[in-house]
Symmetry: C2
Subunit: 321 residues, 2 copies
């Protein structure tokens, strides 16, 4: 790539190898900043920090999967804005003794996630660190960014995909077991709902949030930001088949287990009352992603969850508890 004209040095040799590996998935690397051209639409930005031993363990995932997952967690925030992906910046802390192929594997996963979402790797930083650290800054573009704050009484609450499989994988590993291939894939290879988020924005969605901490916690953010109450019927929740077994081991109903599982990176959307099941089916056909109605927005505050006709209390995952 002729644009990558850096001076000599080991660190710059590393950057040259990364850019060679990424090929067309790396753009505008090698200056002080990457330039995002002036085009119509607001830009939206977010960051997501992943740390070895906290967010992932080396024995669970390959470095390519670790890279994919870290990038997808950040890209999921663009999906929640109904934005198109511009690109991402990757800051990597890596052990001094890490083989070169580990870094290239990690960056391959990050580049693949950026490309899958419709963007490129725009830059980054490398530093020595005792444990792997991956911080991904994402940049997207949206004509009308979707906020958490627009939900209106009467709106329907909809959720994309199926919930709980990432938690099922995590709990299998934590018990010393091996997750099913499907649960493992949900944890290792989440696909941010970029296209679905844009389709929902076109459909007139009022408010949206991505389910990174789990429906239990994230629904509360949407309710607080919009100044409304949410009524969610967990019986309507689409749960992954793997969740049934994992939930039984955890002593919870599958829907309760799934609603408390973080890192599914699905979307919770408040859509106008007039949004119909037929429109939902069309959107599923268009994007390949399931869309299920799970509740209603009303006046008030907080989130009420119901399962088999009875109120249940949920809480999200907290990194610092």
């Amino acid at each position: 790539m002729s644009a990558l004209a850096l001076g000599p040095g080991h660190e710059f040799d590393r950057i040259r190898r990364i850019v060679a590996r990424l090929g067309p998935l790396a753009t505008d690397i090698g200056d002080d900043c990457a330039v995002i051209e002036d085009r119509p639409g607001a830009l939206v930005v977010s960051v997501d920090l992943s740390i070895e031993g906290v967010h992932f363990r080396r024995e669970w995932l390959t470095l390519e999967e670790i890279g994919w997952r870290a990038a997808s967690a950040a890209l999921s925030d663009l999906a929640a804005e109904g934005a198109a992906t511009v690109g991402l910046l990757a800051s990597i802390g890596l052990p001094r003794e890490a083989p070169e192929n580990d870094l290239l594997g990690l960056m391959t996963g990050i580049g693949a996630a950026a490309g899958e979402a419709g963007g490129t790797v725009l830059g980054g930083d490398l530093a020595a660190s005792e444990r792997w650290v991956i911080d991904i800054a994402v940049i997207g573009r949206a004509t009308r960014p979707v906020k958490r704050s627009g939900a209106t009484p009467g709106d329907g609450l909809w959720v994309t995909g199926q919930l709980g499989a990432a938690r099922a994988a995590l709990e299998a590993w934590q018990r010393g077991g091996t997750p099913s291939p499907e649960a493992r894939a949900a944890f290792a290879h989440p696909v941010p709902r970029i296209r679905t988020g844009q389709a929902l924005a076109r459909a007139g969605v009022h408010a949206m949030i991505d389910l990174s901490d789990g429906l239990g916690g994230d629904a509360a953010h949407l309710a607080a930001a919009s100044g409304v109450a949410l009524d969610i019927d967990l019986d309507s929740l689409a749960v992954s088949p793997d969740v049934v077994r994992a939930a039984a081991l955890a002593g919870l109903p599958p829907e309760h287990f799934a609603a408390l599982g973080g890192e599914d990176y699905e979307l919770l959307a408040a859509l106008p009352a007039g949004f119909t099941p037929v429109q939902a089916s069309e959107l599923t056909r268009e994007t390949g992603v399931l869309l299920s109605r799970i509740g209603t927005v009303s006046e008030g505050a907080g989130v009420r969850f119901v399962l088999e006709g009875r109120k249940v209390v949920l809480a999200g995952y907290d990194h610092f508890v």
Copy 2:
């Protein structure tokens, strides 16, 4: 701040306290993404990762200084583009046992650096980590971003400020000593040259880079990106007074020591041949920052350094050596 409507949880209480501490220096916090409004000019983005034990030690600096320094290192990349600051996103990894005031102190320093540069804190992420990790993503706006690649044979090479004081502080600490207050301030409280970078852009600068790794290494990047040779006369380099003593201890001429010192966050600029010392003085009066001519751009490749009429060989700082 009424916009900060998050649901319950310890992590969100932390974010609420940070936003309360930052006051008007925090904007658009609390959604999946921050929104940057559509206005004229390209956006420029960069990241800079700082890790405890690699880039700083807790016993050298307060957390407020650590925050200022990490943010300023990233903001300096905007200066090199001749960009105005929009804002920054701060990803923080912090030890579980860290007192709440440590995090608030760190964010106070980050917020102050953002404000000094003309921007705000637009968002971030928090995660548990064994050691402090600070990754800063910066966003700026420029009508015509200045690249490293525009230097043309005949251009004059100019550098802002004085070099070497940050290295003098670092070496004092590494010897077990105490740096002078001036050297300590250069390391702990670098001021990114945002306004000077913009003034140089208005003056028609052809190429620019910030001196984060030291003149020795960074000049080579500018030469490589522009496809030119640089001749630099180190006798013209403005060195900090503290550097004379530190250079003597290191057994080097002060200018050699200063040219190899990283983390000064000054700018190296290639200005058209017609840019005069009178214009340089005016620019110094306008911005309060010294501007010294240290060399010339010519056809060819690489960087030739001369000190007292003799060629010297320099190399920059490499994080992984």
